[in-house]
C-alpha cells in the first residue's frame, strides 16, 4: 500500500449536520420517557400483588382449619364401613 493512500483519507470532506436532528433527538427522549413506567407505579403494582398473595395464603390456611373436622368425619365414615351388606 502506498503511503499516499492513507493521506488520501484527509480528502474526506466533513459533513454539516442538519439542525432538524436535534428535534428528532428531543422527540426520541420524550418517547423514551413516555414508554418508561415510573418506579413508584412498579412499587404499587408489586405491593398489591404481594398483598393479594398474602391474603390468598391467609384464606387458604383458614379454610383448611375449618375443613379439618369434616375430613375427620369422612375418615370415620370410611372406617365405619364394615361391609354389613354382605352379612344380610
Amino acid at each position: 500500500m502506498k503511503q499516499d493512500n492513507l493521506n488520501l483519507l484527509q480528502n474526506i470532506k466533513r459533513i454539516e449536520v442538519s439542525d432538524l436532528l436535534y428535534d428528532k433527538i428531543v422527540l426520541k427522549i420524550e418517547q423514551n420517557r413516555i414508554n418508561t413506567v415510573p418506579f413508584y407505579k412498579v412499587g404499587i403494582a408489586a405491593s398489591l400483588l404481594f398483598a393479594m398473595i398474602i391474603s390468598q395464603l391467609f384464606m387458604i390456611s383458614k379454610s383448611e382449619k375449618m375443613n379439618t373436622p369434616s375430613i375427620g368425619k369422612m375418615i370415620n365414615l370410611v372406617e365405619i364401613n364394615n361391609n354389613s351388606l354382605y352379612h344380610e
Binding site: N5, Q10, K13, I15, V17, L21, I25, I29
Partner: protein, 167 residues
C-alpha cells in the same frame, strides 16, 4: 451549557466520526441520535470540558461499533437463511456504502480504502479513523482509547501492515 448548546458544539464531530465507521448517512444519523441521548442522560457527571470531549468521542466510537456489529449480525442471519453457506468475507462488505464526504475526485480509491478499513479489527480501525481522518494527535487518540501513546503507534503500524496486505 444547555443541551442544545452542547448539541451544536459537538454535532458535526459525532456525526462525522459515526460516518467514518458506518459509511452510511442513515446509520450515522441513528448513531448520532443515540450518542446525544446518552450524553444528555449523563451530562451531570461531567464538569471538565476536556473530559466531556473525550467521553463524547468514546461514546460515539462504541455506539458506531455496536451499530456495525448489529448490522453484521442481521446480514449474517439473512444470508444464512437464504444460502446457508456464504463466504465469511461477504458479511464484512459494506453493501450500502453512502458516504457523502467522499467526492468524485478520488471516489474509487477512497471507497476501496474505506471498504478495507471497515474489515480491520476494531482497535486498528479506530486508530486509523481518529489519526488519519479526524486528524487528532496521538496523545488525544491515546486518551480516547485509554491506551498509552506507544500502544497507539503500534496499533497504527499494525493497521498499515494489514491494509498493505488487503490492498
Amino acid at each position: 451549557m444547555t443541551t442544545e448548546d452542547l448539541y451544536h458544539k459537538y454535532k458535526n464531530t459525532v456525526f462525522n466520526v459515526a460516518l467514518q465507521y458506518t459509511n452510511n448517512i442513515q446509520d450515522a444519523e441513528e448513531v448520532t441520535q443515540d450518542v446525544f441521548i446518552k450524553v444528555f442522560d449523563n451530562l451531570n457527571k461531567f464538569r471538565k470540558e476536556s473530559e466531556l470531549k473525550t467521553w463524547i468521542y468514546r461514546i460515539t466510537i462504541n455506539q458506531s461499533l455496536d451499530c456495525i456489529k448489529s448490522k453484521k449480525r442481521q446480514k449474517r442471519s439473512f444470508i444464512y437463511s437464504l444460502f446457508d453457506s456464504q463466504l465469511e468475507s461477504d458479511k464484512n462488505q459494506i453493501t450500502d456504502f453512502n458516504h457523502p464526504g467522499i467526492t468524485l475526485e478520488n471516489k474509487e480509491v477512497l471507497e476501496n480504502l474505506m471498504q478495507k478499513i471497515y474489515t480491520l479489527p476494531e482497535n486498528q480501525k479506530t486508530v486509523i479513523i481518529l489519526l488519519k481522518i479526524e486528524d487528532l494527535s496521538q496523545k488525544e487518540v491515546a486518551e480516547i482509547m485509554k491506551l498509552n501513546e506507544g500502544a497507539v503507534e503500534s496499533l497504527f503500524q499494525r493497521a498499515k501492515t494489514s491494509l498493505k496486505k488487503l490492498l
